[in-house]
Amino acid sequence: MTGNDCVGGTSWRPALWLVLLASLPAEGAQVDTSGWECNFCPFEDGQLASEVEAGSLYADGVSAKFGEFDGISEDGGYLVLDGSTGERHENGSFWRITAKDLGLDNRSLGAVAGREGLWQADLGYVASPHNVFDTTVTPFVAGTDSSLTLPAGWVRAGNTQLMTALDSSLRAYDLETTRERWSLGGKFNGASGWRTNLRYTHETRDGRRLLGSSFITTSSQLAGPVDFVTDQVDWSAQYKTARGTVGFSYFGSFFSNERKELVWANPFTAIAPGADQGQSALAPDNNYNQLALKLSYELGPAWRVNLNGTLGRAKQDESFLPYTVNPLITTTALPRTSLGGDVDIRHVDLQLSGDLGAQIAWLEGLRGKLSYRYYERDNGTPQADYSYVEGDTFPGGLATSLPYGYRRQKLSLTGEYDLARLLWPGSGHPFRLSGGWDREEWDRTFQEIENSTEDRGWVRLRLNPLSWLAFDARYGAANRETDPYGTGPPGSAPQNPLMRKFNLADRERDFWDLGVQLSLPGNVSVSLGGFERQDDYINSSLGLTRSRDIGGTADLSWTISGKISAFAFYGHQEISSSQSGSQSFGSPDWEARSLDQFDSASIGIRLDELNDRWNVKFDYFLVDGHGDIEMRSGGAAAFPPLRTRSHGPSLEVEYRATPAFDVIATLRYEHFDAHDWALDGVEPDTLPSILTSGADAFDYDANLIGLSFRYRFGGDAGAAPAADPEE
């Protein structure tokens, strides 16, 4: 909400320069820029320039969904507090400290210093909530030792409706997590062509997530703890010469979970002796180290070769929990005390690209690229047999771990030719024809098929027949063929032999995209787009058999005057699919057809610098989702529609009372309602065998009103705030 648009020590000025350079006449005519003046980004030139904005927001009728990512999820007041201070010198040196949304859960602080083109160092902090539900309830009581117990007086029963103490034991909680990320980074550009970047981040994520807790025939939706810490290091160095670059990089990720397990009391009457509590393993610690090499070299004036190679290793060796916490079940010794998990990632990408016309005169204008990619997940985790216990209730059987691995290779050839050279030379209106073919091959371990090969081809036309009109159209098709479908690895639960998992199945795919751009008189620009992707799983009788995704968008922007602009956007998308199943474990005897339709629309008006005092932003949005699922098993039966509708206006008015002082008023209304048959009417005791969280689909009418004051001091305090390039 700050008026200064400097980010990370750099402003959007480079983008402005690019636009200016791109607009220069192609024939090299000299443009007299001596009289040009940038009205959007006054240069501070060594003066301390600061800005602070303070005020308050008041929210009414909000919910977790409204404040999903900013934390405005409770009715009441919120502080508006933003600010920035810094200076920039003529020699390119700068420093800046920025603060954004300090009064909200979604807040950030940053400091950056450096010298343009030479070096930069930055320090940052950002917090971000993810509010999922605020209507969840539970009878469980969280302990400090990763345990969930039941309150005193709890009455166990065989089903939820007989839990007589349930209603009185329920307490509300918010299902949410919050990330807090600290970062430290820097980059340095050496005088001799060296450039290096380093970034370290430390992130914590705390909160709760839903976790199922099965005892074979019964289960509960628990508020499982989230207590993650992730440290990451990204370093890269690059050396550039006149004809090429060479670069090295390292990426390290170190994840740790402060909660290794969750133990919970069984709220149901145990169906076997001792099954009064259960235990789940939570996400284990892991780490990943990766080295990469990047080479790029110009083979001549028209050819370039690029090579990227990556070697990474993921390790996980968390100590195993016991087979069960049921003291009445005798178990064998674990085959290992920890996993010793070890996955190697190998990746190579080799590209040769160039201008064929530079070598062969009659191919002038033809460009091409040949590329090969190799990616392997080599899973070296040791296999073992585990005498598992079924849901802390009964001895199970023997299960063999399956360390999945795969290798993926892709060969691609693409080319592009400007047909305008043949059809209307010298017109200045490009007519580019491009096309490509690629073959992708997968080899897998421990799955129903080992090998699949997909060939894909496409052709694209980009045409600018008139200076104000541009077309872009693409059509393509792909065909995937697989090995004969097997029964899966030994020991896995037998699937219906007619099942074809969609990612392992033969598939024919068609796709097209279409785009039209018009620059109309009166400073109106229109952009229209459409697309379709259709997949047919031609040899699948069980599983996903067909899917289709089709949609279109329309975007209009109108610069009414130098100070007034407007835009409108509309998008429509339909995703449909068909899948089959077999209740008799034989031929297909049911089919599900789904159709997910989604419409979104928005309009907006911007008034900038009216009377040199007023900035006004007005937006209105509407989104409408509609999901239909029809089950056909004998007769047809339709689920109630899955609906999500939201709409509302927002208004921001900024008044410059003095050259250094702004008053900002904001107003926002949002209506949201959803109908979700998975949640509607599902109370904690609705399902006899599942003690659910009772979460409700969202339905709210939220109002948000805000008033804040912005004061600029130092620098050119009276200058107009830097324009926001997004507008």
Partner: protein
């Protein structure tokens, strides 16, 4: 809308429409933007991703799912987009389809994975089914991204 997302959505309108769905990544907040996953100035990877694969990109923020796990879920290790739609979905958790139908696109074992759960299994229409509502399959099989429990081969622990 985040300034960077506004620039990207100027051309990538399909993604703009998807981002307006009820479930999407927080590109409008302070934590992430389009460049958190994509390299706008070029990348050797599919979709100009910052990391060498889609999964490696997702693990940057979802490191707890990297594993490796004792009991892995095969499609998870290959491609997160087998089940999730990264730019926005009408289904919770950015899922491509509602459970149990999403799970039944791959699981056909005899018994409850193969049964047809229709609207007659909803509350108010008869006996509500634990396989259909609330968390559906995840009511029990909640460790769909992998389990490290010795008794977790069915992803319930």
């Amino acid at each position: 809308m985040d300034r960077q997302a506004a620039v990207c959505f100027g051309c990538h309108q399909e993604q703009r429409a998807e981002n307006s769905r009820p479930f999407h990544h927080p590109v409008e907040g302070n934590l992430m933007n389009c460049a958190s996953c994509h390299s706008p100035h070029g990348s050797a990877n599919d979709f100009e991703l910052r990391r060498v694969s889609l999964n490696d990109t997702c693990y940057t923020c979802h490191a707890e799912k990297r594993g490796p796990y004792l009991w892995e879920h095969a499609p998870v290790t290959e491609d997160c987009s087998n089940c999730h739609v990264p730019h926005g979905s009408s289904q919770p958790a950015l899922l491509a389809m509602r459970a149990p139908l999403l799970c039944q696109q791959c699981h056909s074992q005899a018994g409850h994975p193969s049964l047809a759960y229709g609207p007659g299994s909803l509350p108010g229409a008869g006996q509500p089914s634990a396989y259909l509502v609330a968390g559906s399959c995840l009511n029990c099989h909640s460790q769909v991204h992998g389990s490290n429990h010795p008794s977790g081969s069915k992803l319930t622990r």
